[in-house]
């Protein structure tokens, strides 16, 4: 019997790491559903296979590191990494692509750095960039919107038994990058002119936006990172589009294309690799958004969520250093090299 008593209010702890991670996984479901509707069963297969690979890798490495395997597997962090990477991979991905990416994400980007909470980079994005750099052809084969293959075809693609060429097409971002500056070509490509933005991708991004808003309403994430991210992407896009609408895509197209919403609400918000203070998170996310716009508009890749997030992961300690909030009892925040906590 416990003899310790205290007066109300009593805080009952309902949330733990596993519960938070599960909420985030549930919030990806609308996005997963729309991806499946637009591009076929490939994404579902990717996600399931990625989860299996992630659990096996995580389990093996936890055991090798002498940790409590069951305890750490129950925090669902490996599952979340796998789900996010599975969502980001093209639906045409063969099994080995997912295996290599998820294996690298869990083993190298997470466990070798010391497991959950110790990784300086977002593991899912490390896996994605590894695949994008190593297998550029397989990683850029997206299915043309509205031509979703059936379940059997998706399984054949997964097994590597079906050539992808007949099914794949350029994404809206890729199409715009190819024809930027050419007014007639831009007008003739239907994929750029869906109901709101690029065909297919508009709904995918809206679904991820919905899931993200759910996360904010449940206080799993704060609004700082998504807002900063989207503002950082939309503001330069708006300015450039007002100056030259043929050369630069409009802000709505940027916000509803590629991995914008998935990145803003699910990837950049990773609490381990992001900046920590509120101000820091705003700066961090704004810079991610600006960098995505810069690489999309002038870089060699059509989308840049992974590169931008990793680059800002790298700068997160630096941002934290200069955005440290004032602590109680000090008149000035203890930030930067000139700090030193003078009150």
């Amino acid at each position: 019997m416990s003899l310790i008593t205290s007066t109300s209010p009593h805080a009952s702890v309902k949330n733990n790491t596993g519960a938070f991670m599960r909420q985030v996984i549930y919030a990806t479901l609308p996005g997963l559903a729309v991806l499946t509707w637009q591009f076929g069963w490939g994404t579902v297969i990717n996600v399931l296979w990625a989860v299996v690979v992630a659990l096996i890798c995580e389990g093996l490495f936890l055991k090798a590191r002498g940790r409590n395997v069951a305890f750490y597997l129950k925090d669902y962090s490996a599952v979340l990494t796998a789900v996010l990477l599975g969502l980001a991979l093209p639906p045409t991905a063969p099994w080995w692509l997912t295996l290599v990416g998820v294996g690298f994400a869990i083993i190298v980007a997470k466990q070798l750095y010391g497991g959950l909470g110790m990784n300086p980079f977002n593991p899912a994005m490390v896996g994605y960039v590894l695949l994008l750099i190593s297998f550029p052809v397989a990683m850029t084969q997206w299915i043309a919107p509205g031509e979703a293959p059936g379940f059997v075809q998706s399984l054949q693609l997964f097994a590597g038994q079906l050539p992808v060429d007949g099914l794949s097409g350029a994404t809206p971002l890729d199409t715009f990058r190819t024809w930027a500056g050419n007014e007639t070509e831009l007008a003739s490509h239907g994929i750029l002119h869906g109901d709101l933005a690029g065909q297919g991708w508009e709904w995918v991004n809206l679904a991820f936006l919905l899931g993200g808003l759910y996360l904010i309403s449940r206080k799993i994430i704060t609004w700082h990172i998504p807002a900063g991210f989207l503002a950082g992407l939309a503001a330069p896009a708006l300015i450039a589009w007002l100056i030259d609408p043929v050369r630069f895509a409009d802000p709505l197209f940027h916000l509803l294309s590629g991995g914008a919403m998935l990145g803003a609400f699910f990837i950049a918000t990773d609490p381990v690799s992001a900046a920590t203070s509120r101000m820091g998170r705003l700066v961090y996310a704004l810079l991610i958004g600006v960098l995505i716009w810069v690489i999309r508009s002038f870089g060699g890749y059509p989308d840049a969520v992974a590169f931008s997030v990793l680059l800002l992961n790298l700068s997160a300690p630096f941002i934290d250093y200069y955005t440290q909030p004032r602590t109680y009892g000090h008149s000035k925040p203890n930030r930067g090299t000139a700090g030193g906590g003078k009150s």
């Binding site: 290599v100 190298v108 590894l130 750099i133 190593s134 297998f135 550029p136």
Partner: protein, 237 residues
């Protein structure tokens, strides 16, 4: 000096003080040219020859060069050695010379070479210096070869491609296709692959060292305790 411990010099170069995995010196060539076994072997051999040559020369002049000007003198010797090697490679293995490019003259800046000249050859006679240079060079070469082999295997699925660049036409069919129809894993060939590979090699060496230490400890614990006292009168626990 008859008490030179050649075994210790050898073990230092190959394992305990390996230039690549312990001193972490000469990273620039180590990371840049280990995309395949033949590149690694070519540069490893060149570095080995420069190391032995410069150690011998530095040891020869060690008593005649004052401390104040010793580093410039060492660098001149190393540069001369490197130039010799560069010209030899240009003459006999021209294609490999073209592939390795700037990294052959850059042997001058390899810290291992200057490090051994200053730390060992300038204080020791000729023969130990030559052995030290050879063993350090061999330790460097072995790591280069392992890294080159790893990256070639993972990156292209082959081993010993283009060995004829170094060994002439008889080596043309030495190539091993370890994995058939391998799509290639670009990351291993790119610079990140070198960093990851070297990290894994260093980690592997540390694991082996740790295991060896544990075994030694267990052995020491098993041995019966012997009295350290000169004259034992009482009971020794």
């Amino acid at each position: 000096m008859s008490d030179v411990n050649y075994k210790k010099i050898s073990m230092d170069g190959l394992w305990n003080n390996n230039p690549a995995t312990v001193q972490i010196l000469g990273l620039c060539p180590l990371l840049a040219v280990t995309g395949s076994v033949v590149n690694a072997l070519g540069l490893g051999l060149a570095t080995l020859v420069v190391l032995v040559g410069s150690n011998v020369c530095v040891s020869l002049i060690r008593n005649y060069v004052t401390d104040a000007v010793r580093l410039p003198a060492f660098v001149m010797i190393i540069a001369a050695m490197t130039t010799v090697i560069e010209m030899l490679m240009q003459a006999f293995t021209f294609e490999l010379y073209e592939i390795l490019g700037i990294f052959i003259p850059l042997i001058v800046t390899n810290c291992t070479v200057l490090g051994r000249a200053d730390a060992f050859a300038s204080k020791n006679p000729i023969l130990p210096s030559a052995v030290d240079g050879f063993m350090m060079g061999l330790g460097f070469l072995v790591i280069l070869l392992i890294l080159g082999g790893m990256r070639e295997l993972v990156g292209q699925g082959t081993l010993f491609t283009n060995m004829q660049l170094l060994f002439g036409p008889m080596a043309a069919n030495w190539q091993l296709n370890v994995i058939d129809n391998y799509g290639g894993f670009l990351l291993a060939i790119l610079p990140p692959g070198a960093f990851l590979g070297l990290g894994l090699i260093i980690a592997g060496k540390n694991v082996i060292d740790k295991r060896l230490k544990e075994i030694q400890k267990a052995k020491a614990a098993d041995e019966p305790k012997v009295s350290r006292r000169v004259r034992t009168t009482g009971k020794v626990s």
